[in-house]
Amino acid sequence: MDSPAPNRAPQAKDALKTEEYFINMGPQHPSTHGVLRLVMRLDGETVLQVVPHLGYIHRSIERMCEWDVYPQLVHFTDRMDYLSAMSTNWAYVQVVEKALGLVVPERAEYIRVMVAELNRLSSHAMWFGAYCMDLGAASAFFYGFRERELVVDLFETLCGQRLTYNYMRIGGVSKDLTEDFAPRVRDICETFKRAVDEYERLVSGNVIFRQRTEGIGILSPEKAVGYGCGGPVLRGSGVRYDLRKDDPYSVYPRLKFDVPVGSRGDCFDRYRVRLEEMRQSVRILEQALEQLPGGAWMADVKAVRPAKGEYYARLETARGDMGVYFVSQGGTKPYRMKFRTACFSNLSCLPEISVGWKIADVVSILGSLDVVIPDIDR
């Protein structure tokens, strides 16, 4: 132990020497939701610094895209945000359609809206479960999964997959809706209306839950925008910005829904925004089901050879702003394909907002950002 400086009397502070230390959370850790690694510098339980280390599941999807022709690239997007793969599928096909100037049949657009919203529901339900699990409430996990199962089962009948759907095609969707789709979606809508209320009753008012989320990990609106956050993370901070409204695509302008926002930007606001989004998704689904037109579900696509140039399009996945940028040289393969994913930007604010909190709060904050690691690493 260091001896105290000779010119002053030893004090309790000198006698009790503390030391900072590092803890390595991940890449295998129950609450990093995959293979994220956080190196934390700690003083006791207090977090002084968080350094995320990414790339444990980096597959270089962007480079692989340069190998394959456009229609073959859809399945790569499934492997990014695998919890809302319908939206990531869509983000990709949307930009190629824009590049081709392709008009997608209206029925296909409605189908896309519906499956994307269903996917948002399943993704948020699963997030609800996982977040409660992060906070130590093990039972709520099963409630989230119970509802998610309905959606996943529906997708299984629709496209044969439960997770990596590969359902969207350039120009439409791969298969038409099954006959039981509409009644099942109505059933899901009813179930979710009840379920979200149940979630609220179960968790929202719980004293411990409120203590663990309120005022924790506050992300100011300016920072949220500056970090390029999107989706519920951005809206939780009070920024009313939803690409479905503010950069409208597909048939969203014809559908009525609200964009819920938080007021303080803490974990609890992000939680509330997601629950409210689930209610709004149910609204969208009901309207879309009403308006669903007949006709073709796939455009007549000859050859996918976008003209030379650069294209960017984005849409709102369950996690936020997903953008796809690609450079075409006029061939059948992209020259450069860039996926700007929501989780990458959402996670980038973690080091800033988790400083000064306890280890348990970092878990809470990370959970409230709702990251999917393959979406970050690509």
């Binding site: 990414l54 790339g55 980096h58 270089s60 962007e62 480079r63 340069e66 190998w67 824009k98 300016e222 920072k223 925008v225 500056g226 970090y227 390029g228 956050c229 920024v239 910005y241 503010d246 950069d247 140039g309 650069e310 294209y311 960017y312 984005r314 702003d321 953008g323 940028y325 450079v327 040289q329 061939g331 393969k333 992209p334 020259y335 450069r336 860039k338 700007r340 990458f344 930007s345 980038s348 604010c349 800033e352 690493d377």
Partner: protein, 154 residues
Amino acid sequence: MERAELLAAVVAACPTAAVDAAPQLPEAKVPREAFRPLMERLKADPALAFDYPMSMTAVDWPEAGAITCVYHLASMAHGHKIVVKCDADRARPEVPTVSDLWRGCEWFEREVYDLFGVVFTDHPDLRRIMLTDDWVGYPLRKDYRDSRIAGKPY
């Protein structure tokens, strides 16, 4: 702000910028010296107010000997978007950082550094982000070869 108006404002701020209103999003290509002042202007000017870093990436052009950094910016207040491009010399790629203007660009730039080898000067924490620290080469460059990769690139 309309597309033409926007690009006029960019030219006013940076006369050396080559603007193009034809593509899907308005584009401005600026030389490296003018890049940083223009970006500061885009962020600070209340009429432009580009506060949201939509995306940032790079494209490798071996024939031209350049790596083009591509910035997609959006404005929350005005709803307009712009693409700013800046060429880095492929032999010695260096571009000034904008991570202090848009914090989100900190990780975007790290990714470009990692996969393209573009050095962002004055970046606070320029380390590899995806690959291991001892990785050799920059996988998204067109001339990157790896024995583990099969097939033929574009």
